[in-house]
Amino acid sequence: MEASSSFNRNRSKLMNSEKIFRYLLIGSGVLIVLIAIGIVTTLFIGSIPSFKEFGFGFIYSTDWNPTQGRESYGALPFIIGTLVTSVLALLITFPFAFSISLFLGEYFKNGKLPSFLRSVIDLLAGIPSVVYGLWGFYALRPIITDLGLNAQGFGIFTSSIILAIMIIPYASSLGSEVISMVPGSLKEAAYSLGATRFEVVKTVIIPNAGSGIFAGYILALGRAIGETMAVTMLIGNSNKIPTGIFDLGNTMASLIANQFGEADGLKYTSLVEIGLLLFVITGIVNYIGKLIMKKLSA
């Protein structure tokens, strides 16, 4: 009697922990979904007052005027600043990231040299943004000034160079992975026809690995768009639309970083709306990147 009841108790305890565990598993998934929904709704709700005031004009207005009584906020200079800086960064990164991808994925797969290069790239990815900013400020800026590109050495171009260095790891890693996965039989076929290695790269590797390499660049672009500290320290933080790549500018992320602390009222909700726009833009860019990757694996 007694034994059987204790057995049943154990059994129901067992069933309970089984159930609890399964709920925990699903619960963690639900929590992730809730966090995402929470982020989106929080940003939406936070931007409502600004949206009520400026409507869609917020996106294409060029004003950023916090003067009391004449307050007016628009996001265009920052959207342009963000896109120009990060696209320029991507263009600067391209030859380097592509070379690294080829170097690690095709030319030198194993050995000491490539593993050295791999560690260097891992380390580049590990350097904090604020340290990149410092280095840009103290080491890169004087060079820009000496070249006469900008009087103080600040601006879009300076930020883009630093961003380009920062995203090298992201732009090159996916590329080297897909390049190394190009089937050897295809390459052998080309070699057997007398192709040089350069021609194999051109006619076999790039067509086969191209979309994967491209996906890597898109994801790196997403990184660059959201990067904050290094850009804040170098871009000059001017709230006007930049007139050229050597001009000063500002990005959405660094605007938030600079002004959020002391903001309230209309300025605060405008900054939240900038955050929402930034969230949407990076979301779209990353989604496109993932989409290409998914097509690749399918």
Partner: protein, 297 residues
């Protein structure tokens, strides 16, 4: 006959030359990319090493006046970054406390439901969360915690922002690792009448420990150097702060403060150097664990 052979020879030589130039260009550009790393390291070590002494680790950051006097007398600036170290430990520690259990359980859920519809949604969202800019998470930390919960800037708010930031990498590394573990292991445990939860927690999870730990440590190293979200949440503090509802400093926040204060500029190098060494150690630990603790099936 002779001329056509010459032409094709010349053509071949041109092709071979092109090939050679391309190879050299690849090697040159690939290694040129590593130059900034060494320039940065060199700069940090050159300018930062003399500031790092014992008091650097137990004294709080100096105020502007102290620093100004020291600089005028051509002395080393007194003080250290203890408030930053303690702040980073608390903020990153709390973020890990939130993110690690959720991340590992969620990774397990995804690995166990590779085809489920809801799992697909969760996987998509994790991917998207990975791309959210850190500054946006700072805004979220501010709205979720600073305003309603701690009624002011706080290290808790910073932890919440950073925990969301490190979550995706833990989830994905756990999922990837667990997927690699042979299903026969799970079968073996279940066939012994071991309940599902114990099978997962005591057989499957320990078998993947190296991969999961590596993911966790890389997640920590990713957030340890974050500045932007902390500017909106933890704000910074001149004193060592252990109250999680109060503003707190962190090493990257100190770097930012030193950068903005002309008198303290000499401190940025040592603080950055320390931060970089910390992150470097985390990365090396992650690598060592991935290698050393790898479980052989």
């Amino acid at each position: 006959m002779n001329t056509s052979a010459q032409i094709s020879n010349a053509k071949l030589n041109r092709r071979l030359l092109k090939d050679k130039l391309f190879t050299y260009a690849i090697i040159f550009l690939a290694f040129l990319s590593s130059v900034p790393l060494f320039l940065i390291l060199f700069e940090l070590i050159k300018k930062g090493y003399k500031q790092i002494n014992i008091s650097f680790f137990y004294k709080v950051a100096p105020d502007t006046m102290e620093a100004m006097v020291a600089v005028k007398n051509n002395e080393i600036i007194p003080g250290g970054i203890a408030n930053g170290i303690v702040g980073t430990l608390i903020i990153v520690g709390m973020a890990s406390l939130i993110a690690i259990p959720v991340g590992i359980i969620c990774g397990m859920y995804l690995a166990e439901n590779s085809k489920g519809k809801f799992a697909g949604v969760v996987r998509f969202i994790v991917d998207m969360l990975q791309g959210v800019p850190s500054i946006v998470l700072g805004v979220i930390g501010y709205i979720w915690v600073v305003k309603p919960i701690t009624a002011g800037f706080s290290s808790l708010a910073g932890s919440v922002a950073l925990s969301i930031m490190m979550l995706p990498s833990i989830v994905r590394s756990t999922e990837e690792t667990l997927k690699m573990i042979p299903g026969t292991l799970k079968e073996a445990a279940l066939s012994l009448g071991v309940p599902y939860h114990k099978t997962m927690l005591r057989v499957v999870l320990p078998s993947g420990i190296s991969g999961i730990l590596t993911g966790v440590i890389l997640g920590i190293s990713r957030i340890a150097g974050e500045t932007a979200p902390l500017m909106l949440t933890a704000l910074g503090s001149a004193a060592i702060s252990t109250d999680i509802t109060e503003p707190s400093s962190a090493i990257p926040l100190l770097v930012w403060e030193f950068y903005n204060d002309p008198n303290l500029v000499d401190m940025i190098w040592s603080a950055s150097l320390f931060l970089l060494i910390l992150i470097l150690c985390l990365n090396l630990t992650a690598k060592a664990i991935a290698k050393r603790w790898k479980v052989q099936y």
